[in-house]
């Protein structure tokens, strides 16, 4: 059985104008193995963040369901921590308190000393030592997302859900924080589902990349394997032929749509999303 199974999930939203419903995406099905890093790439409006929220339990699927370790996901839970695009830190808490809130929730039996030591370890890990007592408003976007990553990793979740985590961070800082994400992920080998529209980011970080067609009525077009060995070095990647070929394939898919991308040797055809599932 797959570790995390996205089982033919469909999502409808009430229509903005007039009665009826709009189908955001239909019958999205794939699975993620334990310790795997899977990224979903697609245009705005294909519902990829909605799918992430369904996995998180923050939204309900209109059809199908999500199964984690054999149990259906119906509610949010600390085994599925989310790193939000807008950071979602508590602005009235300090950096330390924000992380401690999560650590306390994840390890209710720990005593104070142990919790403080654990929080401090993650503060240090993301390079925020010295900023523990600052509030988020006093931090740059990059530093805020470091807190977000520390908060998520500190609870050792079964699945880590990254919702365009670097979208609101300037390009130079983004690279640094991506490296930090890789370091933390390599250390713990969490299972990760990430959503992004940054193709380079997806290739740098992922084991597999799921491509969504345009919404509404978006579908999972294909899942491509990223066969570039780790550790991946950003500077070296730029000239790696595998990287360039993969990048071109994904970009062509995004620009031209589903059909044009099929047949260049990557992934499964658009009509059979299930074929891409087994691993």
């Amino acid at each position: 059985m797959a570790f995390l199974e996205i089982d033919h999930v469909t999502k409808h939203f009430p229509s903005h104008d007039g009665p009826g419903e709009v189908c955001v995406f239909r019958e999205v099905a794939f699975s993620i193995a334990q310790g795997e890093f899977v990224t979903m790439v697609g245009h705005s409006g294909c519902g990829k963040s909605t799918l992430l929220n369904i996995i998180a339990g923050l939204e309900r699927a209109s059809g199908g369901g999500v199964v984690l370790e054999g149990r259906e996901v119906t509610q949010p839970g600390i085994d599925r921590m989310v790193v939000f695009q807008n950071f979602s830190l508590m602005p009235w808490m300090t950096v330390f308190e924000n992380i401690r809130l999560a650590v306390r929730a994840a390890y209710p039996s720990w005593d104070r000393r142990r919790i403080v030591a654990h929080v401090q370890r993650y503060v240090d890990m993301v390079g925020l030592a010295g900023a523990e007592r600052k509030r988020p408003a006093a931090l740059s976007g990059g530093m805020r997302q470091r807190v977000g990553l520390a908060r998520a990793f500190s609870t050792a979740p079964k699945v880590l859900l990254l919702d365009e985590p670097f979208a609101q961070i300037d390009a130079l800082t983004r690279g640094l924080i991506q490296d930090e994400l890789i370091r933390m992920w390599t250390a713990g080998r969490n299972t990760v589902f990430m959503v992004t529209h940054d193709v380079d980011e997806a290739i740098l970080l992922s084991d597999r990349i799921a491509l969504m067609t345009r919404g509404p009525e978006a579908r999972l077009a294909e899942i491509v394997d990223v066969d570039i060995p780790r550790p991946r070095v950003r500077a070296a990647l730029v000239e790696d032929p595998d990287y360039l070929r993969l990048r071109a394939h994904i970009l062509r898919f995004l620009v031209e749509g589903t059909r044009a991308a099929a047949g260049d040797g990557y992934g499964a055809p658009a009509t059979a999303p299930l074929a891409a599932t087994p691993r």
């Binding site: 599925r80 807008n86 508590m90 408003a137």
Partner: protein, 259 residues
């Protein structure tokens, strides 16, 4: 001190001095016993009263400290119970849009009612003037806090509640670590308005019930035609009101946050 603040201070003092001089001139131009007591007479009374704030010579003759103390005691009792209830109810309404919309019409109707209008009902029902006064304070400080808390909780960013659900925080912990701090600026703003209206209402309530309290003191001194005491009491009421608000203003600064 910046130049701006020096200017404000000088202007403020100048306005005060002009007002006191004009008041003294007006009072001095009237025959004794037929006009307003001047600032010098009020000052003499103030001096006398502040020298012995806590004397107690029977029911109609107590020091200003005792009178203010009695009022503050009532205020504390009525205001604190009302605030606790208003915050609790406000949180419930804020979290349940359905209940909020169902209850809101009643709140809107009761809110503009002067708290003193309840007095006869309380007097008839509980037959105790002291407790009735406290209930009037309760009514006067209920609505602003209730409305502000409900609004503050209802407008908490969805993201913070999402984080709380993901962390599976228990209800008490969710309330203490997320809901109350997130809504704190709105709640404290409500508490400040409530404090203001409670302090206004208590004077009138005490005039009605008698006994002790700064409101009754004002009425009693009017019956004695001791207008210097009335004027002094007005100043004392104002000063205490400023102090009460300053305390809440500090609280508000401590609980404020920027997103």
């Amino acid at each position: 001190m910046t130049r701006d603040r020096v200017q404000v201070l000088c202007l403020s003092v100048a306005i005060g001095v002009v007002f006191v001089l004009a008041w003294q001139a007006f009072a001095g131009s009237r025959p004794p016993g037929k006009g307003l007591p001047g600032p010098l007479a009020v000052g003499a009374t103030a001096w006398q009263m502040l020298a012995h704030p806590f004397y107690d010579h029977g029911p109609n003759d107590k020091g200003i400290g005792l009178q203010l103390g009695a009022s503050l005691g009532r205020l504390a009792l009525g205001y604190l119970t009302a605030s606790a209830g208003a915050v609790m109810l406000g949180v419930i309404l804020g979290l349940s849009p359905l209940l909020y919309r169902a209850v809101n019409p009643y709140i809107q109707v009761l809110k503009p009612v002067s708290p003193l209008a309840w007095m006869p009902l309380f007097l008839y029902t509980i037959k105790d003037s002291g407790q009735s006064a406290i209930l009037v304070i309760f009514m006067s400080s209920l609505w602003p806090t209730l409305a502000n808390t409900a609004f503050g909780v209802a407008s908490i960013k969805r993201d913070y509640l999402n984080v709380a659900s993901i962390l599976q925080l228990s209800w008490p912990r969710r309330l203490v670590t997320v809901i109350l701090p997130a809504a704190a600026p709105a709640i404290v703003a409500g508490l400040r308005i409530s404090m203001g209206s409670a302090w206004v209402a208590i004077i009138a309530a005490e005039m009605l019930i008698g006994g002790t309290g700064i409101g009754y003191f004002v009425w009693n001194e009017w019956n004695n035609l001791a207008l210097t005491s009335v004027i002094f009491a007005i100043l004392a009421i104002g000063l205490v009101g400023v102090l009460l608000d300053a305390g809440l203003a500090r609280l508000s600064r401590r609980l404020a946050y920027t997103e």
